[in-house]
């Protein structure tokens, strides 16, 4: 795997949240709530991670009554490896949730 540049703090937050429970499939909305990202910021991150082979996405098979299946996400081995790599590095700055920073992330 080649790393060209450090991911944005928002991407690192998503990676860290997914890496915290590597075997667990997560829903998009609750993941966004956990890392403090709205849909407009979260989904581009998920799409990009998926395109780079860092994220597995699948549809729910165990359905709750009256609810359509939802998309589930978890890190691939490569994603978990990348998350571990960045977790071991010193953090540049804490993630703050200002609008400008969220916009500049993508």
């Amino acid at each position: 795997m080649t790393r060209t540049r450090r991911p944005s703090p928002q991407t690192l937050a998503v990676l860290a949240a997914l890496a915290a429970q590597p075997a667990t499939w997560r829903h998009g909305y609750e993941l966004g709530q956990e890392v403090g990202l709205k849909a407009g910021s979260l989904y581009p991150i998920l799409i990009r991670l998926s395109e780079r082979g860092l994220l597995d996405a699948a549809w729910e098979t165990e359905l709750a009554a009256g609810r359509p299946p939802r998309h589930l996400y978890r890190l691939t081995d490569a994603g978990a490896q990348l998350a571990a790599q960045y977790a071991a590095e010193p953090q540049p700055a804490p993630l703050t949730r200002t609008g400008n920073q969220l916009r500049s992330a993508w």
Partner: protein
């Protein structure tokens, strides 16, 4: 289905098939969210994501751009009272727009090669050809509407040749070396000519020096390009040099200091009239460049068509 889900589903349909799951995922997630305000916030966020995907921007952006361009062409042509000129002007713009669409599909004209150079040259080509076409028809229509109406098909054909050459040069199918050779062979003569005018003013009253430099540039492009699609590089370099030099002469004739303008007017005029007249007349010796460039643009077109024909024959033979 809630209105939010409907909106997300509609936007998802603009995505390529491989991405539509993401739209469905957003719509499914939306159904689990409590609270009307939160649901709308989530919907707006999802729509922002979907409408800013490059594939959606392209799918929506090009038709919008086409409609806006044709609308502007109708508005611009309204200045011409002479109906054949009005129709001709709109037809010229429509031909360029149609060619632009061909530049998006796989073939000799497109799609555009990835990278800033090809995209920059293609964008610059669109801008130059549009400026030249609109500027020329506007100027001709102001002086002689009947003549301009008769000339509109010729102007259209030359503009189409120029734009087609730009599209071929920057298409994915054209090797990058050919594009770079055409850029060097086309830009080099313009830089040298500009340097010559700056060091030895004024602007030459004839186009011989420009033609000589264009010839040298084309030979240089042939040497740089290598054997594959050499004609595309030669014609591209010549076309580019002619268009840029002509544009430069027009710009200099209007905005350059008086020291760069040769005295081409009758001696009886006042100094101011003399300068104004000379500014107008200095363009005349260079007008032929635009026709020469249009003719040279036919070289890349012929080479691309010939290559496409050979490819098709090869595919048929394999099949």
């Amino acid at each position: 289905m809630t209105p939010g889900e409907r909106l997300i589903a509609a936007a998802s349909r603009l995505l390529p098939r491989a991405y539509r799951d993401w739209g469905s995922a957003m719509a499914a997630e939306l159904r689990t969210i409590d609270g009307r305000a939160e649901r709308w916030r989530f919907t707006v966020g999802c729509l922002r994501v979907l409408f800013t995907r490059p594939a959606v921007v392209r799918a929506v952006g090009y038709p919008v751009l086409t409609a806006v361009t044709l609308g502007l062409a109708l508005w611009w042509s309204g200045r011409f009272a002479y109906a054949p000129l009005r129709i001709g002007a709109v037809a010229v713009v429509a031909s360029l727009v149609a060619l632009g669409w061909l530049g998006r599909v796989r073939g000799p004209l497109g799609p555009v090669r990835s990278g800033a150079t090809a995209r920059g040259v293609r964008t610059g080509g669109y801008a130059l050809v549009a400026l030249w076409t609109v500027g020329l028809l506007t100027a001709m229509g102001g002086k002689d509407p009947v003549g301009a109406g008769a000339a509109a098909p010729v102007v259209g054909a030359v503009s189409v040749a120029y734009l087609a050459a730009f599209l071929i040069l920057t298409a994915r199918r054209t090797p990058e070396r050919v594009l770079l050779a055409a850029l060097a062979g086309g830009g080099g003569p313009v830089l040298l000519w500009t340097l010559m005018v700056a060091v030895f003013p004024p602007i030459p009253a004839g186009a011989s020096a420009a033609l000589l430099l264009i010839g040298i540039g084309m030979a240089g492009a042939a040497a740089i390009a290598g054997p594959e699609l050499r004609l595309v590089a030669i014609g591209g370099a010549g076309m580019l040099a002619c268009l840029l030099l002509w544009s430069l002469v027009v710009a200099l004739s209007a905005y350059a200091p008086a020291t760069l303008i040769p005295d081409l007017a009758a001696p009886a005029l006042s100094a101011a009239d003399d300068l104004a007249q000379s500014r107008s007349e200095i363009q005349d010796p260079y007008v032929g460049l635009i026709v020469l460039g249009g003719a040279l643009a036919l070289l890349p077109i012929a080479a691309a068509l010939w290559t496409a024909g050979r490819r098709a024959a090869g595919t048929r033979a394999l099949g």
